[in-house]
């Protein structure tokens, strides 16, 4: 009898522990849904939130952030929003090696979608029909950087603008007598490189370029950003000539690619050999900050605070054809509102984010560059002055490199690496190889 009681007890404990697990997850699922479920009444939502103090109250909007480096500032932004409007925003940050788009897919499968999340431009198609149309919102009048989609309308809220071109150390250039404004043709670049290279010891630099084509960890830099110069350099921001060609089965413009390849060849030639083939992002940026390189092939994100550098910095264009005078500037990613989420809450939040108190935090604390015309704050980013001069003059191109086929950068970055290493001998071989690689990737 005793034995039987024990059996019964243990069976009960097992069954309970098992169902308790299942029960807990269903509970949190139901409370999470309540925010999204418009049929839930106010009272029910309240009942939900009171049943578990960990979960979000019915009206709160959830924002999935993909930039871990500004998590603290976004938390501050959410607190400010709560203070000013009484509405709640919960910031969830995805960081490290997990990227936000991958996490989003899991959230979607688990029916746990945030109301606002981050996407890159080429991911919009994946979410076709699931993103809210934000056109006509107040903030759209204040910026030209919103993301639009043919089917879904205005879908993306730009929360920052980033720029990429050849960042330069102005002190080194002026000491060498090179005027960065003159670097708008291949010939000008060539002679500038020769001058800088011959005065290396005098200027205290290791190499002219801090350019790293290492593919395993820095493939995004060569495969997406540097490759993006082929797509956009010299073009107006809305000009999609070369990205359209690329997305039409992987076609490239041979002549343009050849000029681009010659320019990259020049970068290879004048780069620091210790960095070129197997350097790291940290080495590259540290070298630039130490004044070891005159140019760096990154963007405004590599030097974010004035304390990082003891010299003036700016951007020079990748002038691989005569007259190229643009940098690539625009939002690399956007915040979008999930159609079945709290769209009104998201819209209100976006409008507030475009306003003064939010911009104060985003620009002055998070170090972002504002995409809004009426923003009164000057970004602290050392590259900001140079960026602004290009944007104000209209000399900026789009981030169309974000519209290339997913994963293409992992293929092309290897071609850049081989070119840097010398196993692709010259510009012609580079063009031929990259053409082959791109075509076969698009053919799949």
């Amino acid at each position: 009898m005793k034995k039987k009681a024990l059996t019964l007890l243990m069976a009960g404990v097992m069954a309970f522990s098992l169902t308790a697990c299942g029960g807990a997850s269903t509970n949190s699922g139901s409370t999470d849904n309540s925010g999204a479920d418009s049929t839930t009444t106010e009272a029910e939502a309240d009942a939900d939130s009171s049943s578990s103090d960990k979960t979000v109250s019915g009206d709160a909007i959830r924002l999935l952030n993909g930039k871990p480096e500004i998590d603290a500032q976004l938390q501050e932004l959410a607190a400010k929003y709560n203070e000013e409007t009484g509405a709640e925003v919960v910031i969830e940050t995805i960081g490290g090696d997990t990227n936000a788009s991958d996490e989003l897919k899991k959230m979607y499968q688990a029916d746990n979608m945030p109301d606002i999340f981050v996407i890159e431009a080429n991911q919009a198609a994946n979410w076709d029909g699931m993103l809210a149309d934000l056109s006509g919102e107040e903030w759209t009048d204040k910026t030209g950087f919103e993301l639009t989609d043919d089917n879904m309308g205005t879908i993306g809220f730009p929360y920052t603008v980033e720029a990429t071109a050849l960042g330069y150390n102005a002190d080194v250039l002026s000491a060498a007598g090179v005027d960065p404004a003159s670097l708008t043709s291949p010939d000008a670049w060539k002679s500038a490189c020769e001058t800088l290279d011959s005065k290396k010891d005098e200027l205290g630099i290791t190499a002219v370029f801090g350019w790293c084509a290492e593919p395993a960890n820095l493939g995004w830099s060569s495969g997406t950003h540097v490759f993006g110069q082929y797509l956009d350099a010299g073009l107006k921001a809305d000009d999609t000539t070369y990205i359209d060609m690329l997305n039409d089965g992987g076609k490239i413009d041979d002549a343009r690619m050849k000029s681009f390849a010659e320019f990259v060849g020049m970068m290879n030639q004048y780069s620091d050999p210790a960095l070129l083939v197997d350097g790291t992002y940290d080495n590259q940026v540290a070298g630039f900050k130490d004044g070891k390189y005159a140019f760096i092939t990154q963007g405004n994100w590599c030097v974010t605070s004035p304390e990082d550098v003891s010299f003036e910095v700016g951007f020079a264009p990748y002038a691989f054809e005569d007259g190229i005078n643009t940098i690539i500037a625009g939002p690399p990613s956007y915040w979008v509102a999930y159609q079945d989420g709290n769209v009104d809450g998201a819209k209100a939040f976006f409008n507030w984010c475009a306003g003064d108190s939010a911009q104060d935090i985003l620009v002055n604390k998070a170090g972002l560059v504002s995409p809004f015309d009426d923003c009164q704050y000057e970004a602290t980013n050392p590259f900001y002055k140079s960026m602004k001069s290009y944007i104000d003059a209209g000399n900026y191109s789009g981030w169309h490199t974000m519209l290339k086929k997913d994963g293409l950068q992992n293929e092309t970055c290897q071609v850049f690496a081989d070119y840097a290493k010398g196993s692709i001998a010259d510009a012609d071989a580079f063009v031929e190889t990259i053409k082959k690689v791109i075509e076969s990737y698009y053919a799949e």
Binding site: A15, L18, T19, T26, E44, D102, A216, D278, V415
Partner: protein, 361 residues
């Protein structure tokens, strides 16, 4: 042993069963319909699910049967394990096979494409290449890991001083995660080894920048990581050899080499089989070191008419990048099914061969 049911209670059992099933089903229906189940002013969906499950178990337990009582108890006790196994292994496997016939992109299934993913994968040069180098890697590793591990085991069973230290030192790399190992070795290859290669051959770039040497680098790291673990198994095997056999050999005047080849090796044949299969399966599943060390990069100038950019990308990493980086979840799923089949064949062979060996012993 006869086990009597003294208080089987049919009405109670039936009530529990019926109430349990009703509650469970209503909770599940509400969950799928995304409706809350309002009772007494609060959502009782979770409670219904719990109570429903408990009710079903109680009903089963009280069911008045002598014949099946033991079976029912067994099922109730096994249920947590079976449930967890089904949720984490069986259901994903079935779903995965299902997804491999669609164009799933991780978000939605738009079309069912039949066998297209399977036919496509055998015409994709980069995937064929991944299969080839995975087999090559497995072959190299099976030989090298076992050889190194066996030599280390011999060393650690000889009567040298500081044996405990050596055993611990060789085993230690196995305790470090593959990702961490990969990053540590990446640093070593691009900062330390380059100094030597520059001095020796004038090649200033690291081993990792060239496909062939990067492949060798992965093998080195993997052998370094795994040999210590296999060594432990060999040490156990070598210690199991009866001392009287070794003594007899010594008395008969067998040299050390003769003892090794004619006594020790045949005596640990079953250990060798086990270790071979352990290295075989683990080398097939190679992922973390591959990801951290080279991330699959490396170029092959001409393979099946293509310029490949995934020179060191092995099967598992290929599947991962197809799904996650290139955003082709269904295609990655199809590749994973093939991977599963390969591993299943290897495992079945392993079980067959080891069990027949055991019979011989």
């Amino acid at each position: 042993m006869e086990y009597k049911i003294s208080n089987g209670n049919k009405p109670l059992s039936l009530v529990c069963l019926i109430a349990g099933v009703v509650m469970l089903i209503s909770a599940l229906v509400c969950d799928f319909a995304k409706k809350s189940l309002m009772l007494f002013g609060s959502d009782c969906r979770g409670a219904f699910l719990v109570l429903g499950a408990v009710g079903i178990f109680l009903g089963l337990f009280f069911f008045p049967t002598e014949k099946h009582h033991r079976k029912i108890i067994n099922i109730i006790f096994l249920f947590p394990l079976l449930f967890a196994f089904a949720v984490t292994v069986i259901i994903p496997l079935v779903l995965g096979i299902g997804y491999s016939f669609t164009d799933w992109d991780g978000i939605r299934v738009k079309n069912v494409v039949g066998l297209a993913n399977y036919t496509k994968m055998f015409t994709q040069p980069s995937f064929i290449w991944s299969i080839l180098i995975t087999f090559l890697f497995v072959l190299f590793n099976m030989i090298l890991v076992n050889l190194v591990a066996f030599l280390l085991a011999l060393l650690c069973t000889s009567k040298i001083k500081g044996m405990g230290f050596f055993r611990a030192a060789y085993f230690l790399p196995n305790l470090i995660g593959g990702i961490v190992l990969g990053y540590i070795w990446q640093f070593i290859f691009s900062n330390v080894v380059t100094k030597w290669t520059t001095a020796l051959s004038g090649n200033q770039y690291s081993m990792l920048s060239d496909t062939k040497t990067a492949f060798i680098a992965i093998i080195i790291v993997y052998v370094w990581q795994y040999a210590g673990y296999i060594m432990l198994i060999y040490i156990t095997g070598l210690n199991m050899i009866p001392l009287d056999v070794l003594e007899a050999a010594a008395i008969d005047g067998a040299s050390r080499l003769q003892t090794l080849f004619n006594i020790k090796l045949p005596m640990i044949a079953s250990t060798i089989t086990i270790c071979t299969f352990l290295t075989l399966t683990s080398a097939f599943k190679m992922f973390d070191v591959n990801l951290a060390l080279t991330n699959g990069t490396g170029s092959i100038a001409d393979f099946m008419g293509s310029y490949l950019t995934n020179g060191t990308e092995m099967l598992a990493l290929n599947i991962y990048s197809t799904a996650v980086v290139e955003n082709k979840y269904a295609f990655g799923e199809a590749k994973a099914v093939l991977f599963f089949i390969i591993l299943a064949i290897v495992s079945i062979l392993q079980v067959k061969i080891t069990s027949s060996k055991e019979v011989e012993l």
